[in-house]
């Protein structure tokens, strides 16, 4: 028995219905892409949750480092001029 050999892990993304983006819903194990797609269908769409499935080897995902959080994301915090509420428009102009 070669239980040291591990069946690869895949991340599953599902589009609940057309018009919506694919959304991460979980992961599973499969030896290759075809089986991963079928397993995703059998595991994650038993209650009509999906119209489309993506599977991606977990090892292929590149993620940002939580330690980079301040550098990456804090600088956006004070750019309030990107938001509509930054601009004053008289009420009688109506919705804009």
């Amino acid at each position: 028995m070669t239980d040291t050999a591990q069946t690869p892990l895949w991340e599953v993304f599902i589009r609940p219905r057309n018009g919506l983006a694919h959304r991460h819903c979980g992961s599973l194990h499969a030896a290759d892409a075809t089986m991963a797609l079928q397993a995703a269908r059998d595991v994650y769409t038993r209650r009509e949750e999906g119209q489309s499935i993506w599977v991606i080897p977990s090892s292929e995902i590149v993620a940002s480092d939580p330690n980079d959080k301040e550098t990456f994301f804090d600088p956006a915090g004070d750019k309030i001029y990107r938001h509509p509420t930054f601009y004053d428009i008289p009420d009688d102009v109506g919705h804009m």
Partner: protein
Amino acid sequence: MYSQGLNGQNLDVNETPEFLAAFQARIDADEKIEPNDPMPAAYRKTLIRQIGQHAHSEIVGMLPEANWITRAPTLRRKTALLAKVQDEGGHGLYLYSAAETLGVSREAMTEELLSGKAKYSSIFNYPTLSWADMGAIGWLVDGAAIMNQVPLCRCSYGPYARAMIRVCKEESFHQRQGYELMISLCNGTAAQKAMAQDSLNRWWWPSLMMFGPSDSDSQHSDQSTAWKIKRFTNDELRQKFVDATVKQADHLGLSIPDPDLVWNETKNDGQGGYDFGDIDWDEFWKVVKGHGPMNKDRIAARKQAWEEGAWVREAALAYAEKQKQQTAQQVTA
């Protein structure tokens, strides 16, 4: 539910008092902890143990009910039971995935289950002896599980909380199908009603034991509560379960096998609740330590499935490897 190795997860954290205080502050502020976040080793270890146990319980929990799929008395009941046991496999899968985000593989967790090192819910070490047990398990065991699981949807660890939301959503039909099954037995012949009562008699106390040892004896509770891995104590959840279940038994016309069960209006801060008899903790520990009626059989069944499945898993990997090499050759040719 993310890759175990996203970005080469660094598991070493220098647990200075400042780090631990900052981590606790995040938890206190109801922030979720995500897989790549630095976390105390003990937090990681506690989660791996708890999520692993939870996953194992789902997987072992398939066996007592699978025992009756081929004997289900109608096609409607058969399909419902099969779908339910399948769901349990799915729940085990979601939970293993959540645990894998903490840096432990499903294979390693499986080995721990099969070697007896990892625990699972003691309830599944009792045998399913009659069709009514399919009703009692859905009603009582899933009912108790829901009490335990709903608070876990707000657990501080993101992947566990997300897995539990999915589990709870799917599980909502499990208890209902069990109770409906009990109703049809209790509305049936005397023999059917006796079958239902016998089943309640056998499953009642083990169901109360599902909430774990009494708060005074639970070694993991305090720290888990501080980390918001656990939101209610064992005894709180057990009381809630008893209070909810007694009137359901009344509705069925079944009697709960506890002579000490009595309404006490001072309980639950004056809202009232049931006093109930002493749980046989000797039996609980005996089963937890591997000496219940079905411990050996359950593990043997899992072991057999795992070992007899090895050649299938190996073949799938070997085929994938061959395909990869063929594609590589085509590219270089």
